[in-house]
């Protein structure tokens, strides 16, 4: 089995340089419609980091200058903060959100600093505590319902089963551990 894998992989080396994509770290990536979700489970604690381009959340990525824009950003931030509504763990697991922090340049009315210019992102950090972690089999991510402009979430997770990757979309929004 390993030889087979080796042969297949050897073929990939040729394309390896192509696959290497651009030599930038994941943190620098910014594509509209695509967000990132990082999830780690240890003990009875679940930590989630959500990074999404402003365009997915509010439809624009400049600092809000109009009142309407400011309202939209504040409303979005409030929705993002409601982790219990965005992430539905199995009822049996008895998970409760402990905290949620929303960060975004768009939330600060700082006229001097321009930061990333027109590519503002939202970064949200959630932590949950679960009464029965053994019942943590999956989480239904309701992010796409809340933010219809978002199309995809690239997931990286570390669970009791090890590390894993997944891709969530509006039509397949259940993340199985």
């Amino acid at each position: 089995m390993e030889n087979l894998v080796r042969t297949a992989l050897a073929g990939l080396v040729v394309t390896g340089s192509l696959l290497a994509v651009s030599p930038v770290s994941a943190a620098e990536k910014h594509a509209h419609g695509e967000g990132e979700l990082k999830l780690a489970i240890e003990g009875n604690k679940v930590v989630i980091e959500l990074t999404a381009p402003g365009s997915d959340i509010v439809g624009f990525e400049h600092k809000p200058s109009l009142d309407a824009d400011r309202k939209a950003v504040a409303a979005a931030a409030a929705m993002l903060k409601d982790g219990g509504a965005l992430f539905a763990f199995p009822d049996k697991a008895g998970c409760k959100m402990q905290e949620a922090d929303v960060h975004s340049e768009m939330l600060h009315d700082d006229k001097h600093k321009h930061g990333d210019g027109d590519h503002a992102e939202f970064e949200v950090h959630y932590s949950f505590s679960c009464a029965t972690p053994s019942a943590l089999t999956h989480v239904d991510v309701r992010y796409f319902k809340a933010f219809p402009r978002a199309h995809e979430l690239e997931v990286q997770m570390i669970t009791q089963k090890g590390q894993g990757a997944a891709e969530l979309t509006a039509s397949s929004s259940r993340l199985t551990f």
Binding site: L12, V13, K38, A40, I158, Q163, G164, A165
Partner: protein, 422 residues
Amino acid sequence: MSRAPILSLAVKSLMNRRLTVGLTLFALAVSMMLVLGVEKVRGEAKLSFANTISGADLIVGARSGSIQLLLYSVFRIGNATNNISWKSYQQIAARPGVAWTVPMSLGDSHRGFRVLGTTGDFFWHYRHGRKRNLKFSGGKPFNDLFDAVVGSDVAKALGYNVGDAVVVAHGLGREGFKTHSDKPFKVSGVLAKTGTPVDRTVFVSLEAIEAIHVDWQSGSPIPGMSIGADKVRQMKFTPKAITAVLVGTKSRFGAFGLQRSINEFPAEPLLAILPGVALQELWDLMGTAELALSVISVFVIAAGLLGMVTMLLAGLNERRRELAILRSVGAQPRHLFALLAAEAGTLSVAAAGAALALLYGVFLIAQPILDAEFGLFIEITSPSRHDLTVLGMMIVAGTLAGFLPAWRACRQALADGLIVRT
């Protein structure tokens, strides 16, 4: 005629044709078993691949692509674009969230197998499959500067045993290129089969990698300068650079943050990857192979069902009399239809049961062999919900496939009457 007698009649009729029915049942059971088995092996192979390196939380290398880093650091395929300076390595190792680090230095080879310079911690921290440790089938980790540990494939292919001498070649060429023949290594340990690239690797200490290059410059021996092995033993070596680092974090929560901070490392461009994530991305790239297996499974089951339908259809001819008699005692065409369909259904159910028995029998026998020969560990578990769904679908498909001979039986019975034409 109520339903139950039809079923018992079906069973009795099947029993009457034991041999052909038995063979058909066996063929059907084997095809069902293959589908389940292929699915199970596929799942286990994927899991085993995804856990090629399950102990490390992060792999750090020079900045390139994540798959490239994975390929050279774990699979020893291709080469690093750059090194990590020893200083950066020490800084990473000293980060607060870091529990342990294992430095790795690649670039030399031994008769076609890559040589990995590392520390003894590698054998302790490396995990594969379901968090399994590396095991020594003989000997122990390296102790002396010129000790080497070989993977099981290396030992098998080159016939190495503990105590044998090994000469490392510079670069990745075959033997006979430029060898470090003045500093032979001794095999101190042989690792048990893992089914991972570890099997194809020669391990030496990090210092040894430096030591064999002590009288070399720019990839060639310095003419007139040769330092013997004993003299080298007394020298102290600190590597200037390494190829990659395995990192274990204190908590799972720390892994993402550490990854981000290493990716933004100020001193040099570094890349940290979550090996499990990169492995899964790599597996997904090979998704066509997985699809091929699924397609094969479908054809296998189609062949099995075809066999059953053929048997039932062929049997109709020799059962003309039986069916005609049933008609004479008052069986309606729909009863005959039900009879034949019940036969197909009974066969399918029996085949599903036999398939499960066969599957577990085969796994019980094959498990130690697969583990020893291929390092693929098949965990024997009770049938998953998926397995049961697949079996259920196959039973339904089998019963439905029985509708064709059943329909033929009705038609035939109507046309035949009681007179048997030969």
